[in-house]
């Protein structure tokens, strides 16, 4: 099933043409890795899917993005963002307790019942493999957690609002290898329930977890194919060059 259908997407920030004529489909329940050097437009692409780019004053776009056949421009922004969750590059807990961090989004969508909230928080933390580590200190500040724990808290917070798609924006860039492995494990398991788009600077990470991989360069989508194929027999020379570390 096609989750996202993107056609002729162009994005500008002022005079900068950040994405050029991007067209692709994102399948349900796959992990799509997006790789490319910095400033290649991959984060811009990601932030387009939950319309976070709209916050930028100079943002302009053309083209169509459909989420399950519905143009995302016609979907209420809050509802879209509920359906399409996001985990940011750095662990960004809100200045609240662990519990309140996870419950935040749910509360904003109108759930007030304490019992329901408690269940959602526990479920989400378990899904993010954090429950065992924090179940005795849910009321402590989220800033007391380690970096890796904070990032898994952010994943749990995203899961709590029951999204359909989760966008990961270089989620391991600030983490050590062990924490990275834990986050990657979580991602692979999450794929059964969710569609995942993973932007990463780490080519090896894309190879490890991605079902398909997209390569961006200078705002263009150069190549999109099965991860195996991208890494063994890329069609484009530039893809090959990037993967082999010739530039980037």
């Amino acid at each position: 099933m096609v989750k996202f259908d993107i056609k002729d997407l162009n994005i500008w920030f002022g005079s900068i043409h950040a994405l050029k004529q991007v067209s692709m489909e994102i399948q349900a329940n796959e992990i799509l890795s997006v790789i490319g050097p910095s400033n290649s437009g991959k984060t811009t692409f990601l932030r387009m899917l939950n319309r976070l780019n709209d916050l930028n004053q100079n943002f302009k776009m053309s083209g169509v993005i459909k989420l399950e056949q519905e143009d995302i421009k016609n979907i209420n922004t809050e509802l879209l963002r509920k359906k399409v969750g996001m985990v940011f590059a750095l662990p960004l807990p809100l200045p609240l307790s662990i519990f309140d961090n996870v419950a935040y989004g749910v509360r904003m969508h109108g759930t007030k019942n304490k019992k329901v909230l408690g269940e959602i928080v526990e479920g989400s933390l378990q899904e993010a493999y954090l429950w065992e580590e924090v179940k005795d200190r849910l009321n402590e500040s989220a800033f007391k957690l380690s970096g890796g724990q904070q990032q898994r808290l952010c994943i749990a917070r995203t899961l709590a609002v029951q999204p359909e798609v989760i966008l990961f924006d270089e989620p391991c860039s600030g983490l050590d290898p062990i924490s990275t492995a834990k986050v990657e494990d979580a991602m692979v398991k999450l794929k059964q329930k969710y569609t995942i788009v993973l932007v990463t600077n780490n080519v090896k990470q894309a190879a490890r977890v991605g079902d398909r991989t997209a390569f961006f360069l200078n705002g263009e989508l150069i190549e999109l194919d099965k991860t195996d194929k991208i890494f063994t027999a890329p069609q484009d020379k530039r893809t090959d060059g990037y993967i082999r570390g010739k530039f980037g």
């Binding site: 939950n50 976070l52 916050l55 004053q57 509920k82 969750g85 940011f88 995203t158």
Partner: protein, 282 residues
């Protein structure tokens, strides 16, 4: 041959001297007022009405009047100022209107205090027919402290990291929910600091209340917000220039109470700011 190091020594010494020229008098002023004013302070001075044409008795009505004025000013200025700051930090775009508002704030902050007095007289006392009253004075002072509240609140709001807003929005919270639940709670210490600084400013100003509220001599408490009132700064002005043969003790005592009130508010603001900085989590 000029020796650059000797030039530097001389220059630095002169700069140090300039600094002393400012700081030492400040210290002296505070010391003089405490030294001469403190002995005048007793319960009777603080709780009694002025007697014998302000040459005896206490300053209670002036204290109460000032407190009323300050509270009135803040009731008016805080909601408008805070919402205005929210507009500037959260909603406004970088356009002409935004620049105009900022310019207006700068100008509002620069309008001479006596001109505020004229304005209050023309608008509230005469045009709205509030008369010389606590209401007129409070509104005048409220407009005067608006720039202080807007500027400090805006700084406080803008110091909340942008990423918190992004996170909240990315979870599907609306803009107002984000402001209400994430931005405001984390900006409260800064907003409080600004509010208290505004209060201090309002408590100490004389010129704006001269024609809008201040009673020369009113040895009773005001009955309603449409009543005139005495106020500490005006009272100090009156007893030091308008009434002959006032005991020095009463003058110093009044100056002490006014200074203590204003400095106390500033001290509270500084403590809040300091505690907040230490506690800051990001």
């Amino acid at each position: 041959m000029k020796n650059p190091y000797r030039t530097q020594k001389i220059a630095f010494f002169l700069l140090f001297l300039a600094t002393l020229l400012i700081v030492v008098p400040v210290g002296l002023i505070v010391v003089i007022i405490i030294q001469k004013g403190l002995p005048a302070i007793n319960w009777q001075f603080l709780s009694d009405i002025p007697r014998q044409g302000m040459r005896a008795g206490g300053i209670f009505p002036a204290i109460v009047g000032t407190i009323y004025l300050v509270i009135g000013a803040i009731i008016f200025a805080l909601p408008i100022g805070l919402l205005s700051a929210i507009y500037l930090s959260e909603y406004s775009k970088d356009n002409l209107l935004n620049r105009l508002i900022k310019l207006a704030i700068v100008n509002l902050a620069g309008v001479p205090s006596v001109v505020y007095g004229l304005f209050g007289l023309a608008l509230f006392v005469i045009f709205f027919k509030f008369g010389a009253s606590i209401l007129s004075g409070s509104l005048t002072l409220g407009i005067m402290i608006l720039p202080v509240i807007i500027t400090t609140s805006r700084e406080a709001l803008e110091s909340v990291p942008y990423s918190f807003r992004e996170v909240s929005l990315s979870l599907g919270a609306s803009k107002w929910q984000t402001i209400r639940h994430i931005v405001l709670p984390n900006a409260i210490p800064g907003i409080l600091t600004g509010t208290i600084l505004g209060l201090g400013r309002a408590a100490g100003e004389t010129a704006p209340i001269l024609f809008t509220v201040a009673a020369f001599y009113l040895p009773r408490l005001p009955n309603s917000i449409f009543d005139q009132a005495m106020a500490l700064p005006y009272h100090l002005y009156v007893i030091s220039t308008q009434v002959p043969n006032v005991d020095e003790k009463i003058r110093y005592g009044t100056a002490f109470v006014l200074l203590a009130l204003v400095l106390f508010m500033n001290l509270v603001a500084i403590i809040i700011r300091y505690k907040f900085r230490k506690k800051k989590k990001w």
